[in-house]
Symmetry: C2
Subunit: 334 residues, 2 copies
């Protein structure tokens, strides 16, 4: 029988809570260089493979929790009060419910994402990380970052990585309660490292990541080789970051992302997040590389690209991708 | 040490040849429903997995061999005399050289492909099959179809399947000389089966199939699971053909083709034969299926699609893909 989130969390919070009046926390978005794809435990979001990401500095989510003044829970997103039945509100409320024990105190939760809308980034990672940090503060839990990372992971897998800035590794872990499946900041930086957020298509995804990875694990024979690919890529990427070797990092991160998409494409029904514009942009990246510009791509479960390059090539990248606005180019170590 | 083509062929042809004056043979193109991808022997074109195809009836290659009147070998393609250094001429001459022993008799070889240019089909399968059949006749070799299939395979892997009409299985084989790696016609037909040849992009491929499969085998971790995928798909497809079960056939053939492309996408450097138009057409197929029209896709190492459906749905398919001309819809059992 599987352990529930509630059972895991109950071990870490006091019987009696003494909440404050207000708490606020920020967490960055993150882009995985070695992707998380596939769960070994769907309830706790325990991954089949370890992953590694770069956090996006000031781009992310800010969450404020205050006592609710009108006797019911309230959820705001980007300043707008949501219906409590909305998908986002239900996710937030059921997450905070895991922490309030018997406490009968309604709260108001306000989340603001400052991710440029044009970037096409998911906000669930930064959102659940910021919410977890704010809960820790609001209820005075005093938990360590690794525990907060594991808790954020139960909201959304990749939120475990958004607890930290910089390069972050999310350990796969082995424990049944998942408490060793948490992220840690790597003691590595790379001031010249740049990420270009290239949005190529709009529109809601028909299949979300959660359902997508489940379909892949269940139906793609090729997925069997993914854990091995991810393990070797993670080791290589750490070495490449340590050496500031963009070619090695870029090649490995790009092959990792494309291998993840390959497992989706090999699923049934086929899971192709790419649009025609995605493929056009991919060919543009490869064309640019054939001209000697060291730029690499990574992609998540969606149609958009993220470009990986160094500050010295920013002008060439902007020339080739004039749709990149200033805000779409992120310097994680500034 | 590997066996050479010449050593294999020498075992099957007489010491002394007595060529006729002229010979002519036709061989059909074929579309694999379970793909051939990856070689265990590059010299002999021995495959890592068995494959299964449908031949395209009257669409294919006709090859004529005659004594050369001017003392040198001549190669014609679609009526045009080629330079002997051209890629096509060199391939044809070096193939026929395997069969002529010491015989000092120049020949004229003329190949005509009647595959609609717009279809974007490769002609090497039908070309090498027709050439092998014509060689058998010209030199009076009297070889059986399974031997001819194995010989055609040494020219181009999938040519082994173009020796036959109908549904054809190419056995993987185990022998070192590859003579059990030959195709056989399955005793199954399906009069209502239709194939739509949907060309979506033009232009020479940058990486040919031979180089592409080599790159995949050497660099894609995900390729490790391909042989298992192919083996299970082949068994399922035979059952689906036997039952005239288009849904089972289509699902299996589509997942098989996409899994093959997935192994390419997971290679390094990435091998993406798809163009933006390919992805647009793929989404159109899936959209059509979501409307209840049973149409499935398969794709080879290129940007074009082949649609699999039944005669009863031809009108719906033509409505959705008005670019399909009459000649682009093939009825293999007519």
């Amino acid at each position: 029988m599987n352990i529930t989130k509630q059972a895991v969390i109950d071990n870490y919070i006091p019987e009696q809570l003494s909440p404050g009046n207000t708490a606020e926390a920020f967490a960055p978005s993150n882009i995985a260089l070695c992707k998380y794809w596939g769960k070994r435990d769907v309830e706790l979001n325990l991954p089949i493979n370890a992953s590694l990401s770069i956090s996006l500095g000031e781009l992310g989510s800010r969450t404020e929790i205050t006592e609710s003044t009108d006797g019911v829970d309230q959820v705001k997103l980007n300043g707008e009060l949501l219906y409590c039945e909305s998908r986002f509100a239900r996710k937030v409320i059921s997450f905070i419910n895991l922490f309030r024990r018997e406490l009968d105190q309604p709260v108001s939760i306000s989340t603001v994402n400052n991710i440029p809308t044009a970037a096409g980034l998911a906000s669930s990672a930064s959102g659940f990380a910021a919410l977890t940090l704010a809960i820790n503060d609001f209820y005075g839990l005093g938990l360590q970052p690794n525990v907060l990372s594991a808790f954020a992971r139960m909201g959304s897998g990749s939120a475990s990585r958004s607890i930290y800035q910089g390069f972050v590794e999310w350990h796969k872990g082995n424990r049944e309660d998942g408490m060793d499946s948490c992220a840690e900041r790597l003691d590595l930086d790379w001031p010249g490292f740049r990420i270009g957020l290239l949005k190529v298509a709009t529109g809601e995804k028909k299949v979300d990541s959660r359902a997508g990875m489940q379909r892949t694990v269940e139906s793609a024979t090729l997925y069997q080789s993914w854990p091995q690919q991810a393990a070797q890529d993670l080791a290589t990427i750490k070495r490449a970051i340590d050496d500031h070797d963009l070619e090695l990092l870029g090649q490995t991160a790009e092959q990792n992302a494309l291998s993840m998409h390959a497992t989706m494409i090999a699923s049934w029904p086929p899971l192709l997040y790419w649009q025609p514009e995605s493929v056009a942009a991919m060919h543009r990246v490869w064309e640019l590389r054939s001209l000697g510009i060291p730029v690499y791509l990574t992609m998540d479960a969606g149609p958009n690209l993220k470009l990986l390059f160094q500050s010295e090539d920013e002008i060439s990248v902007r020339d080739a991708f004039p749709e990149l606005m200033d805000l779409d180019i992120v310097s994680p170590f500034d």
